[in-house]
């Protein structure tokens, strides 16, 4: 328990403790407004375009908000001291070595994927995917108000990515990872000598494949087949789904590959936790 309390009260972890409260609060706040919109109907264009003068109305709000925030920041700065540890020493590696809290979701992904995926490809895809959002979300509804009914798919995907794969992983990385990057429950003592048996095996091994070339081909088929699910779904549903027709082929390919890449993380996590799978695809050049 003492390690968990130490983590909770660490000055640099104040933001992540704040996030524990801020995210649920803003989820609740937006959910309430979305429910109200869905019940009472979408605000009309006239209502959304109802204008007021910036001076004094908006400037007053900005001023009040700035005062409150500066007050909070002032109290925060007076009461909690920024950390300063011993001088840097390249020969003394702390265990665990953690990145700053906002990168801990990325560091957490390193458990499940090799660095080139977790540290380079997936972050790159996150950025590309975020930038692509307005260009692939062609749904013209839900512009300028909270709603659940009008864009359930977009909200579900974004909230899953942001809340589960970013915020929750960040919290896990901050509070539940101890020496050797092993998982420790809050009430457990951090044991730097904890030995975790490395019983992970590759997926091909579980299927009884012992030959390297066959394993490589098997991995290629599994990963290729997974990403082929996108086009297959398109060919299957193209005729009947208005959503797919409106989206168009190019946008669909981008949406489905981004979506499948995002889901690859929870799938790999499930494989690791459930079946001790190390790699899905082992090739001479890279492992996935």
């Amino acid at each position: 328990m003492e390690h968990f309390i130490a983590l909770l009260t660490k000055p640099d972890n104040v933001p992540i403790v704040a996030i524990l409260f801020l995210i649920p609060y803003f989820m609740w706040l937006s959910y309430r407004q979305a429910r109200r919109t869905d019940k009472t109907g979408v605000p009309s264009d006239a209502a959304l375009n109802d204008k007021v003068y910036v001076w004094p109305y908006l400037c007053r709000n900005e001023f009040i908000c700035a005062i409150i925030v500066m007050l909070v920041l002032g109290i925060w700065s007076i009461t909690i001291q920024a950390p300063l540890e011993e001088p840097s020493d390249p020969t003394k590696t702390p265990n665990p070595s953690k990145a700053p809290w906002y990168f801990l979701a990325l560091q957490e992904m390193l458990v499940y994927f090799d660095p080139w995926i977790a540290g380079v490809v997936l972050p790159g895809l996150i950025v590309a995917g975020l930038i692509a959002i307005p260009y692939i979300d062609t749904n013209p509804k839900g512009k300028g108000y909270y709603t659940l009914k009008e864009r359930p798919f977009a909200l579900a995907v974004f909230c899953f990515g942001f809340i589960v794969l970013w915020i929750v992983l960040m919290i896990v990385g901050t509070f539940l990872r101890g020496p050797g990057w092993n998982l420790f429950a809050p009430w457990e003592k951090w044991d730097p000598h904890l030995v975790v048996p490395l019983t992970n095996v590759n997926l091909s091994y579980l299927f009884g494949i012992r030959n390297e070339q066959t394993a490589n081909f098997f991995g290629f088929v599994v990963v290729g087949g997974y990403f082929a699910l996108g086009p297959i779904f398109y060919l299957w549903k193209r005729g009947t789904s208005r959503f797919l027709q409106e989206l168009g082929l190019v946008r669909y390919i981008i949406v489905s590959s981004l979506f499948l890449s995002m889901l690859a993380l929870p799938i790999k996590m499930a494989l690791r936790w459930g079946l001790n799978v190390k790699y899905v695809w082992v090739s001479p050049w890279f492992n996935i």
């Binding site: 204008k51 700065s77 920024a82 300063l84 702390p94 700053p100 990168f103 013209p140 839900g142």
Partner: protein
């Protein structure tokens, strides 16, 4: 008495000096409200009028504004910190210690800088969340969302480069861990898949970032320049673009 005061007031407000500074009166008319914004360099990025929902705290969460405020706080406190800090391996850590123990309000200055930076990371993430939930990235605001994503990355990078500067164990190892992944960049990292033939530990992308194969004095100077000059400049330019586009695209959200 009242008449006299009124006369004096009019004399002052009608004088050439007063009128050269203040271009409008203070009457309660729409014209004055508009001039108040248009003729003020600090306020003129605002349009004269905004949609009513842009005033609603429950709608906007005020997160974009808070992010900008946090940027201003870090800029001001950062400039003050620069007076006491030398970005060299010999001095950096001791300068921070000196700042904490000997400079009047030095600790407070450092705290404000650090916590405002953390606050900025939180508020920029929540700002993006709000913009998504209200569909404010939709046509015609697609490009501004893209600018916002770049600003999000810049915020992370600003915070990350600043993390190294105290040059203590926390800084050193957080940056070591954070930059280790660059080794594995496909093609350009020496441990990545398909590393190009000439790529070694001494010339890959990680080396370019760290100015060495481990975090060292060169990294400190490099991160200092990124943190204090290069990235804030880029952030300022993109923020100007971001705010200008908010206005040109018809306000924070809703139909144009």
């Amino acid at each position: 008495m009242n008449e006299e005061r009124k006369g004096l007031k009019e004399k002052i407000t009608n004088s050439d000096i007063w009128r050269s500074i203040f271009r409008h009166g203070y009457e309660n008319t729409g014209r004055r409200y508009t001039l108040q914004v248009l003729q003020n360099v600090w306020l003129h990025l605002h349009p004269p009028r905004v949609s009513r929902h842009a005033l609603n705290f429950r709608f906007t969460w005020c997160m974009g504004g808070i992010t900008f405020l946090m940027f201003l706080v870090t800029a001001v406190t950062g400039v003050l910190l620069m007076f006491y800090y030398r970005p060299t391996a010999e001095y950096a850590f001791h300068d921070v210690q000196y700042l904490e123990f000997d400079i009047p309000f030095g600790m407070l200055l450092r705290n404000m800088h650090r916590w405002a930076a953390h606050g900025m990371v939180i508020s920029v993430m929540l700002h993006m969340f709000r913009v998504f939930l209200t569909g404010s990235y939709k046509k015609p605001r697609e490009f501004n969302w893209a600018v916002g994503v770049i600003l999000l990355l810049i915020t992370f990078f600003l915070s990350f480069t600043g993390y190294l500067l105290p040059w203590d164990q926390l800084a050193f190892w957080a940056v070591t861990v954070g930059t280790n992944m660059a080794r594995a960049t496909p093609l350009l990292g020496h441990e990545g898949p398909f590393a190009l033939g000439a790529i070694t530990q001494e010339n890959d992308v990680r080396f370019a970032l760290l100015a060495g194969s481990i975090v060292g004095p060169g990294t400190l100077l490099r991160f200092y320049i990124f943190h204090c000059i290069a990235v804030p400049l880029l952030a300022s330019v993109l923020m100007a673009l971001h705010f200008w586009r908010v206005r040109k695209d018809g306000g924070i959200s809703g139909p144009l």
